[in-house]
């Protein structure tokens, strides 16, 4: 075993890879060799740290120094200063968005301070492509424990006691689901992992798969033991190539060490896992549709009951759980149900991972105890709104969820509070919006999504979402009619109660929640033909503010349709009739003299 005096962790998750972390690793390795340090300093490729907008991120241990936005050009200095002379490179340290003080160590950073990492505990810490690193952090210990010391019924009891609820959206108690499947008669049963992550603004499952794939494999084997299954499937989006590659490697490694396959730990328990790639259909995230897709057919949902626990894959009892749900399992077994249940609120235990994005300073992946308030997430962890604009709402739960306004910033987030607020946990996409976001347009955006993804099997969803989208589009185009709001509400009610699967049933949520909290915006669009946020093109007009215009003529030269005229050194004017509202003039104006309203 080689001994290194220092370890450099570099994120190779999707975010940082997009910020070129691969090239960074190659160059760093080269620099280390040139300085004869390759035997002293080890470079480790990890999964996502969560702080994606600062990528590429580099953490140096044992000190725990946190460098961000490191470029190839910085590496020589890091090697010379930090590794040769032992001096931290101040320039690359992180500073909080609202201060200039640099923070050296990463647990001092506000972004991390309020977090509690359970499902993500290995992400960004281990090299996901090495099973040994997972094992070194007690990986597969939980599997050994259940096989040696626990009966299947005890495993289920432990999960039930932990209070873990499904992280895929619905929040169904996991232990109960397992118990149903364990009790269902049948010699062949299946364990399925839902890694289809369809919410269009979420990537937590992806980060778990990329950063800690073995946790999911271990959990699935534990589930298999608990319900009496010996085959598992992971249904993962084909759009996640890094996750697919790491899962494939992880499965091979686990098989090689006898942690998957026949007679695991010599305890007479067989379990193996196959990968199935999704092919770009959102509805396949819905459990019954997903199972049909694994069977190799069109991924259309079917009515429940029968529930998959009784009749799932190939009509056999099947449990299907989300990636993050699974990632919690080995930790619950290792540290005990009581430890897990000590976090969170009365009815929502443990932690939840959120993908924090949108108009916020610190974007990335965060994990907080259930019951954390939105205010903590947005202001303490997220660092506040981008450009210090005013917070308007946060969209949570994706296309099935809703918007939560500023008035509810102090609501502790858990499954039940979110439902009460007209949103839902969904998978955990958290998109922050400021005053420049039009709520009618956001509702339209989500409806466009569900309409596009509706599989077409049931009419309420197929036709209903289309009608709702038409109405919303009309409103954003300035052609809204006074009765439109009533019609939307009536349609929403019908679809909610009559659609076949939750895709349809929850599709009106983005409309209902924006209507609930931002009804005035709908009314402004319909009655006053105005878009208060200045987003809906058809309702905007551009004007030149006389006082601010210096008469430079830049706008006129950039106008593609010659709608601007005037004399040099005198205020210019925009001809409303000709203007196509492209915004080119506003972008070009150096004096902020063009107004969009």
């Amino acid at each position: 075993m080689e001994f290194y005096r220092s370890h450099v962790l570099i994120c190779t998750g999707t975010g940082c890879t997009s910020s070129n972390s691969r090239a960074l690793i190659d160059t760093l390795k080269k620099e280390l060799v040139e300085n004869g340090l390759e035997k002293e300093i080890q470079v480790i490729e990890t999964g996502c740290f969560g702080f994606c907008n600062l990528g590429p991120i580099m953490v140096v241990y044992p000190e725990g120094v946190f460098y961000c936005r490191v470029s190839e050009a910085d590496l020589r200095e890091v090697v010379q200063e930090h590794f040769v002379k032992g001096r931290v490179v101040q320039r690359l340290l992180y500073h909080e968005p609202n201060s200039t003080v640099k923070t050296t160590e990463f647990d001092e950073i506000e972004f991390f301070k309020h977090q509690k990492r359970v499902a993500l505990s290995n992400c960004g810490v281990i090299d996901p492509e090495k099973i040994e690193e997972y094992i070194a952090r007690d990986g597969y210990f939980a599997l050994a424990k259940v096989l040696h010391e626990m009966t299947p019924a005890q495993v289920i009891e432990e999960i039930k006691k932990s209070g873990l609820r499904g992280r895929g959206g619905g929040g169904f108690p996991t232990g109960m689901k397992w118990e149903f499947a364990a009790k269902a008669p049948g010699d062949q049963k299946y364990v399925v992992c839902n890694a289809d992550e369809g919410d269009p603004g979420a990537f937590m499952d992806r980060s778990v798969l990329e950063g800690d794939p073995h946790a999911v494999l271990e959990a699935m084997a534990i589930a298999g033991y608990a319900i009496g299954a010996n085959q598992g499937y992971i249904y993962v989006r084909a759009e996640y190539p890094i996750a697919v590659e790491r899962l494939t490697k992880a499965i091979e490694q686990a098989r090689k060490l006898g942690l998957l396959g026949k007679n695991i730990f010599g305890m007479g328990f067989d379990f193996d896992i196959g990968l199935r790639l999704g092919a770009g259909a959102f509805v396949c995230g819905e459990e019954t549709a997903l199972l049909t897709s694994v069977e190799g057919r069109r991924g259309e949902p079917r009515p429940r009951p029968p529930f998959p626990a009784n009749k799932g894959l190939w009509e056999k009892p099947t449990i299907i759980n989300n990636v993050e749900t699974f990632a919690n399992i080995p930790r619950i077994i290792r540290y005990g149900a009581d430890w897990f249940a000590s976090m969170g609120t009365e009815k929502s235990k443990g932690t939840k991972v959120f993908a924090l994005a949108g108009k916020i300073k610190n974007t990335g992946l965060i994990e907080v105890p259930m019951g954390t308030t939105l205010r903590t997430i947005v202001y303490d962890i997220g660092g506040g709104i981008l450009n210090d604009k005013e917070f308007k709402a946060v969209q949570i739960g994706g296309p099935s969820g809703g918007c939560i306004p500023a008035a509810l910033l102090d609501t502790p987030i858990d499954y039940d509070n979110l439902i009460a607020a007209g949103a839902m946990m969904g998978s955990g996409g958290l998109i922050v919006m400021d005053n420049d976001t039009c709520m009618v347009d956001i509702a339209r955006f989500f409806l466009e999504f569900t309409q596009d993804e509706s599989c077409g099997k049931c009419p309420p969803c197929r036709i209903g979402t289309k009608r709702m989208l038409e109405i919303l589009t009309r409103i954003t185009e300035g052609k809204g009619k006074p009765e439109d709001i009533d019609n939307l509400e009536a349609l929403a009610k019908t679809i909610k109660s009559s659609a076949l699967c939750a895709l349809g049933q929850t599709s009106p949520n983005p409309i209902l929640s924006t209507l609930k909290y931002f009804r005035d915006e709908y009314e402004a669009h319909i009655h006053d033909k105005k878009c208060p946020a200045g987003v809906c093109q058809a309702l905007l007009s551009y004007t030149i503010i006389e006082d601010k215009c210096r008469g430079c003529g830049l706008c006129a030269r950039n106008c593609p349709v010659n709608a601007i005229s005037g004399k040099v050194k005198e205020p210019y004017v925009i001809d409303r009739e000709k203007c196509i509202k492209c915004g080119a003039c506003m972008e070009k104006c150096k004096f902020g003299a063009i107004e969009r309203k």
């Binding site: 997009s18 369809g198 759009e239 897709s293 994005a357 949108g358 990335g364 972008e587």
Partner: protein, 165 residues
Amino acid sequence: MSCQCKGEAGQGKKYAFIDRIIERHKDEKGSMIPILHEVQQEMGYLPEDVQAYIAQKLGVPLSEVYGIVTFYALFNTKPKGKHKISICLGTACYVRGAGKILEEFEKQLNIKVGETTPDGLFTLEGCRCLGACGLAPVLTVDEHVHGRLKTSDVAEIIAQYKEEK
């Protein structure tokens, strides 16, 4: 219909790789979708004659294969351009102005989303969250991710891949 087959005799040899893929999955339950994935990986798309060939090999009606191919957005029946530009239209990117980026590409390439340029160089697509929301708005060209985009970056990106050919 862009049928490229040269009669029955030529087909056997031309589709030998399909035979191999099917052979690999022969003992697997529910193998249709993995097979289609792999064939598309090789060919880039799934024309009708290939679908027919797979249907015949698996002993299922063509309608079943066709039904699957058209259901899933990732399968395509027409060839794609040399470079695939996928603009993320996920929520985070949308909120940060991905729509404008898409419009700019449509304008500069003179095609609509979902189409391929007449020279076969670029296909323009919209896609969902790439998991790089921190860098929103984001797009991928082939496997490469470009983030923190501004409309003024569009011309440069196109030029970069045009040169590469």
